[in-house]
Amino acid sequence: MWLFLARRIGLAVAIVAVAVTLLYSMIHAVPGDPASVILGPRATPEMREALRERLGLDRPFVVQIGSFFGGVLRGDLGTDIVRDRPVADIVFAQLPYTVVLVLASVGWAALVGIPLGCFSAVRRNSLADRIIGVLSVSFIAVPYFAVSIYALLIFSVGLRWFPSMGVGEPGDPLSQARHLVLPAFAVGLSWVGYIARMVRASMLEVLGDNHVRTARAFGLPERRIVFRYALPIAVLPTITILGVGVGYLISAAVFAEIVFSRPGIGSLLFESVGQRNYPVVMGAVLVTSVLFVVSTTLADLANALLDPRAREKL
């Protein structure tokens, strides 16, 4: 089991390292050096030189990358050139907001999606099942930022049920919750579809399984069979796809942050890209990659722990 964990972590580190290296190289491979790009055409040569020195761009490429990663290991992600603060501080200040949004979205998606899927499976081919099926596909198909925009339009601008900007008052959980509702709804909506479909397919498979037949032959009540025997097994694949779908969730969260003017990694990245604030871009991408890789590993681990069959394979 520890071997498995070590391998996964090693893989994760490798992926992040590769991604960041690629990004770094691409930024510096672009014709025209970053300093000029950042400062614009009106910068004087002295200003450019000074910036280049500050960014360490005058050193050989390999040294630059090396020092960057060295810094990362020390927790130093560089310095924000616009605000002149450590990138690490800025990024980690924004990170919690994104994490909260993602968790809330997954939470509500699972809360609604799993029962829907279960219901669909048990009432297979009924009208309700078909409707849920069409809705699931629709939820999956609709672009996530469109959902954010329309949620804002209908529920905030139109009906005025929920606020449309920001995160709410610090220290006031109710206000923060209210500000979280629409973004979480928007980000999680397509997941309701995925999860419902996944659970339905899983459940149908499990309900047809031989051991469910055995349970029925022993006279166990249907409700117990569905909830205690079938559902726990059917839910397992959901955890794995949640792990793989984190990337998708993060993308949706980025849009939600922008549409609802929420702070978070998404807004930060968007803003920094606009400003050509390379250190912050690098930092944000790095942190997101790590987040992504950690979630996938956690999901795999969770799956392994919960399914005794998979445990053996570890």
């Binding site: 672009p143 993060i250 890209v273």
Partner: protein, 293 residues
């Protein structure tokens, strides 16, 4: 009991027309097919159908609601939204076509390489696929924009790269499956070269699944393009894109909902249409491709 239930296996499409007939019997499939045809037609003939020049400003009052003259109203620069939507559709489909074609070709190549090459190469390519496929697209897109700057090319690049794994995996699976097939071994024993085997055996088997995947990929591609354009990172003005129409409308969302509705509805309808069609195609022709993500 499961053993005694008489299963009725779906009859394999004995011909394209038979499959088509089955497709249209399904409600969703029919809707998808019709809607997709409408979208494609309106995109192809966008310039002919558009009542106004989509980039011309002040052809009407600003931010006007829909009227007889401007079916979808006007935007903040007085441009006719309906015309912009039509041409935006053309842009979206062009991007989709170009990028999917590129992604299929490259994916095919990489998949074949992975299937036929040495084990370590296969593992490496597979790892690459898995990572790229699940990495957040927007983050990747923003990173690329940082380097390449916002433009249509950037969007196409992002879309192509994130789509390659989908096709690559299928190509690889098929290649692996066929590689060890017995009659392939027999042919090799008779001296057939890799090229011939590829052409005659591997490719025909791959085309079908790849096409179905491509049709299911269209809505994803359109979404990515619209999303990046919405952020201002994609198609640059004055070229209309559904994403940029949404963006323009979004700035004025408190003044009038119409631009937002006008930009969003065609996007949603198109993605729904292609998705329904894609699902129906897959269910009809190749249920094995069913993966829930």
């Amino acid at each position: 009991m499961a053993a005694d239930e008489i299963p009725v296996a779906p009859r394999r499409a004995d011909g394209f027309l038979a499959g088509l007939r089955r497709l249209t019997r399904d409600g969703m499939g029919l809707f998808g097919l019709v809607a997709v045809l409408l979208v494609v037609l309106s995109a192809v003939f966008a310039h002919q159908l558009a009542p106004f020049d989509p980039t011309r400003i002040m052809v009407g009052p600003r931010l006007a609601p829909p009227s007889a003259e401007h079916w979808l109203g006007t935007d903040q620069l007085g441009r006719d939204v309906f015309s912009r939507v039509l041409v935006g559709g053309q842009v979206a489909l062009q991007v989709a076509l170009a990028s999917i074609a590129a992604a299929v070709s490259i994916g095919l190549g990489l998949g074949l390489l992975a299937g036929l090459g040495p084990r370590w190469l296969d593992n490496a390519i597979l790892l690459l696929f898995d990572t790229v496929r699940s990495f957040p697209v927007v983050i990747f897109g923003l990173a690329v924009v940082t380097v390449l700057g916002p433009s249509l090319t950037t969007v196409i690049f992002v879309v192509v790269v994130t789509s390659i794994p989908t096709y690559g995996r299928v190509a690889r699976t098929q290649t692996l499956a066929i590689k060890n097939n017995e009659f392939i071994l027999a042919e090799r024993a008779m001296g057939a070269g890799t090229g011939r085997i590829l052409r005659v055996h591997v490719l025909p088997n791959i085309i079908g699944p790849l096409l179905i995947l491509a049709s299911m990929d269209v809505p994803v591609v359109i979404t990515i393009e619209a999303g990046l354009s919405f952020l201002g990172m994609g198609v640059q003005p004055p070229t209309p894109s559904w994403g940029s129409i949404l963006n323009d409308g979004f700035s004025y969302i408190r003044n009038t909902p119409w631009p937002v509705i006008a930009g969003g509805i065609p996007l949603i309808l198109t993605t729904l249409a292609f998705t329904f069609l894609g699902e129906a195609l897959r269910d009809t022709f190749d249920p094995k491709l069913r993966r829930d993500l």
